[in-house]
Each structure stands twice: as C-alpha cells, then as structure tokens.
Amino acid sequence: MRYAIIGVEGPHDQAFTGKVLKLLGFKDFREELKGLESQLDPFWRKFIPVYPKKGNLYKRLDMPSLLFNDTIFVAIYPGEGSNLVTNLDDILFANSEYQTNLAAFGILADCDKSTPDRIVEPYANKFRSYFPNFPDRPGVVNTNSPRTGVYVLPDNASPGVLDTLLCECGQIAYPAYMEKASSYLNEFSESDIKSLKWKNFDREKALVATVVSVLKPGKTNTTSIADNNWVSEQTKQQVPALANFIEFLSQLLELS
C-alpha cells in the first residue's frame, strides 16, 4: 500500500477533496470500516488526536479524512487555515515516517489574499526541507518521489476560494436554486453588506450556503458537499476548474 497526505485549509476543503476522491473510485474509511480505531492502518496512528485540544473541551478534533483504493491510502488533513503550514511542518518534523514513506504530499489552498504564485511560496519554503523537489508554482506536480504539488483554488490562476469553484458547479448542478439564491442575496443593499462586514468572496460563500440550506435544511456545507451533486460526473465535464483539480489529484496520486 502507498500512502499520501493532502493538506487543506479547513473542513469544507476536506469534504470537497474527499468527494472528488470518491468520484475517482476511492472508498471512505468512515463508511467502509466504520471509522474504527481498531481498523485504522497503523501508518496513520500518529494522527489520532488527543482530547481535549489545548484544554478547550469544545474545540473540534482534527482527525484527517481517510480514503483508499487498492493501491493508495490518502489522508486529507484540515490544518486550520493559516496554521496549515505550521501544523503540517510540526507533524512531518515529529514523524520521520511521514518524511520518508509517503508516495505523495500535496496542498489545496485558497487564493483569497494574494496571487497564486505568492500563495505557493510559504509551502515551498517550508516543505522543501523534507521534499527538495517540492514545486514553487501552483498546479504543478513534481513526479519525483514523493510526488508533490500545490493546487490553488479555484484554478491556479484566478483569485477565489472553494466557494468560487462550487458556484460554478452549482450553475451546472442546481441552476434554478442558484438563480433564486442569487436573487435573494441581491435584495441586500450595499449598506446592509457594509454593516455585515463582508470580506472578499463572502458573497460566493453566502450563495453556496443559501443553496445548501435548501438542499439540506439544517445541515452544514460539508454535509451537502459530501452528499449532493456539487461534485459529480456532470460538473466534472462542464466546470474546467473542477476538471483541473481532478487532473491535479490524478497526477499527484499517480492514478491511471
């Protein structure tokens, strides 16, 4: 069995990457093996978190999603946004088997605060000490062992976040809901938006969340991304950014 780690910024990215892998034929450890510690491949034991986190009884635990096929076992690690570099650096530094026994190591990052090249910089600077061939350009997979790369959402070129890509998927999968949700959001005036202190890309986030509240009332975005058709064969065919990401993962994980 080969092993791979994909670091992502948060739980939505984690659910999205997991859904893409399922589209590529992967099975989810949570579903296939009931997420039981006793069934966990020993390679991933270091990721089992110890509760409570930082003494805070209400803080969520960062157990990665684990997906596998016949040849490769992938951990999708959510690294708390801007702490992703530090968290993954600590984990790699403390566990030498993650430095030497990985078949692939990749990152999925947003392009919300800088250019895609700049987004890749801190990852390349940090992870080259473990993987000297780690690429310094977005969307590029280095095929030396381990395979490495950073995908910058939405398409390694434009500014945006996961929701930018999901909005494109929503236009294909749920065009009517997207239109109605958009009309609803348009009812908010400039001054409303200002008083709500929306930041860049918050409109896309609100749009996806509005559709999610219709598709899965009372459920989170992560549930909807996992269960609904934001990521599907249809959206893969019609959304170039999604097709790009799927191609990136296929190269990174060496999927035929």
């Binding site: 986190k53 930082k54 530090t86 600590d90 984990i91």
Partner: protein, 353 residues
C-alpha cells in the same frame, strides 16, 4: 546517535529497548570518564544489589555486543562519546579487553611440579580478567589522557590511581534507588544550610499536605536518621511514608548533590501520582535552574510529558528527544519546547513513538 542542541531540561522518550537508559549510562560515564568506579557503578545500576551479575559481565555489557561472536570468545569492545559545551572534556573513549590468567592459588597448588605445562592447568585455576582503558581529550590538552585498569573476576576492584580532574558532578536516580539506597544525612544537612528545607517540605507536601517538617534525629544516640513531622501521626521515620514521598525526597537531595552538574532520572514519573506530577516537576525545573543542574529524564508517560510542559514556560530550555531504533543506528528526533507544546496542545499528537 547524535543528541543535538541539548537543553537544560531534557526528556528522553522511545519504545522499550530504544536506548533511553543507555543514553543515561553514556552521559554518566562521560561526566567521570577516567573514573573506573563510575564505569562499574554505571554497569551495575540496572540491577538489584542482591542479584547482580558478576562485575566483569556487567561491565562488558556496557560495550557493543555482536551476536556473531561467541560468548566464550575473549571479548574486546570500545565505546566513544564526544560533546561540546562548558565541560572541558570533548571526547571519551573506553576500551574493554578481556584476558585470562592463572590464579595465584592455582600456582601454589601446582608448585611442587617442576614445570607447569599449559595442558596441565586445571580449568578451575583459570581466572577471567579485563583491562579497562579509559581515554579523554579536553579543550585544554589536545593530547589524549589515558589510564588503564585491570579488573579480575570475583575480586574486589581497588582504584589506587589518582583522581582525575575531568569530573562533572553527576548522579543517577533509578526507578528503585529511593528504595534501596540510604538517604544521605549529610545531604539533608546541606539542604538545611542552603536554606532549602522549606522548599523541600513544600515538595513533599505535593504528596502529603500534612507533612510539616523534616528533622534529623538520633534516638539511640548512635547513627542519626531522617524523620518527618506529620500533623496527624507526629514525628515518624521516613520509611513509614509511601514511595512518592521517599522518591521526591531522594530526587531533591540528589539534585543538591550535583549542583553545577548533571542529574539523570530514569522513569521520572515513577511513584508520583498523576495529580502531583505538574507541581513536582515545577519544583524540579525551578531548582535545576537555581542550582545550575542539567537534567536528563526518561519517561514512558504522556502525562509526564504534558506535566513537564505545564511545569515549564517559554523561558525554560526544555527539549524532548524521541529515540527511534533503526537497523544500524538509533535516531534521535529533537522537539524543542515550543514545537512540543504545539504538537501536544494544538494538534493533540502522540510524541512518544
């Protein structure tokens, strides 16, 4: 194995048989590299006094072993340790060479024979012995200092050579030393003279809040002993108290003994209840800092690691080394305090294996 950038407080973790105690043994002999008694004591430290193996066998096992070589073969082995830092010794090399000789008793018994042939020597008359050659290099002298000692099987070893100046105060607290070693009354006296007694009592109160005083008494007028004054039971001998009290007192007194040197504690969590770990460790860290003592402690306990983090702050020079045994050598993963804290508190990571 390389332990880079040691801290003042060093925690050693790793699986069973990963070499944690061996590291303590290497440090122990390195601090007194020309002292054969330190080598012998170190070799015996793993064993209970009354079931110890012969001194030669124990000493031999401090040196590299090879399963390819028969145990009946005359053994020769060498160890090498080097360091940098304030201690003037920069390298220590020890060579252990076994040999065989004929006992004097055998020669007397055979003295009537005109010529003693090797074939005629009875097996019982052959004694095993070993030469222990100890060498050091120091920052003052690029030439290696070297001393040799002969140690014979079943014979008391007497060191008649001059004491070396290449010495750093060092002592080891094993998981059972608080049970088998006599507490040194003179060390308690030293604690009292240093004005540390109230602090030592505070430490013991982590175990039993009703302890109020420590006294040296000689009820029979002969050998003085250590007594504890206790709110409920009154003045009682130390032996009447539990393991935790005895161990913490043993650690405290040993710490005073090695002022300006090195304290080695094997399995630091032994006998200390989980609730008392944090406060006990805070005491140990504080006094290591005040007495300029470098601490090396092994542990198997995650609670002990967390308690050591809790007992220290960002100013504390704390380092954890995880020993990982690979095929040809042991690797030491170094986690400095800040990274260790993130791994434990932010990421909830297992850091022992």
């Amino acid at each position: 194995m390389n332990l880079k950038d040691l801290g003042q407080i060093n925690i050693l973790v790793g699986g069973n048989n990963s070499g944690k105690t061996s590291v303590l043994e290497a440090i122990s002999t390195y601090c007194r590299p020309l002292d054969p008694l330190e080598w012998l004591n170190t070799s015996w430290r793993r064993e209970i006094k009354y079931s110890r193996k012969p001194q030669l066998d124990a000493l031999k096992w401090l040196f590299p072993q090879n399963s390819q070589v028969s145990h009946t073969h005359v053994y020769e082995g060498e160890t090498y340790v080097s360091s940098n830092g304030d201690f003037p010794v920069t390298e220590s090399r020890a060579i252990y060479r076994e040999f065989e000789g004929i006992s004097e008793l055998g020669e007397v018994e055979n003295s009537s024979e005109s010529q003693l042939e090797i074939d005629e020597i009875e097996f019982d008359n052959i004694l095993r012995g070993a030469e222990l050659e100890l060498k050091v290099a120091t920052i003052y002298d690029p030439e290696e200092l070297s001393v040799k000692f002969e140690i014979w099987e079943n014979q008391r070893f007497v060191n008649r050579k001059n004491r070396s100046t290449a010495v750093l105060p060092i002592d080891t607290v094993t998981p059972f030393s608080h049970r088998i070693e006599q507490l040194q009354i003179n060390l308690l006296s030293e604690v009292i003279l240093l004005g540390m007694k109230p602090e030592v009592i505070k430490l013991l109160q982590q175990m039993d809040s009703e302890i109020t005083d420590l006294v040296i008494l000689s009820p029979t007028g002969k050998s003085p002993s250590l007594y504890i004054d206790h709110k409920r039971v009154g003045i009682s001998p130390l032996s009447a108290f539990g393991d935790g009290v005895r161990r913490l007192l043993f650690i405290a007194l040993t710490l005073v003994k090695v002022e300006g040197g090195v304290l080695l504690i094997d399995e630091i969590e032994t006998a200390i209840h989980t609730v008392a770990l944090g406060s006990s460790f805070a005491w140990i860290v504080k006094w290591c800092q005040l007495l300029d003592v470098q601490l090396f402690a092994t542990t198997h306990s995650l609670e002990a690691i967390d308690a050591m983090l809790e007992a220290s702050d960002s100013e504390t020079d704390l380092v954890l080394y995880r020993l990982e045994k690979k095929e040809s050598q042991t690797k030491a993963i170094r986690l400095e305090r800040e990274r260790l804290q993130r791994l434990r508190e932010d990421l909830g990571q297992e850091v022992r294996v």
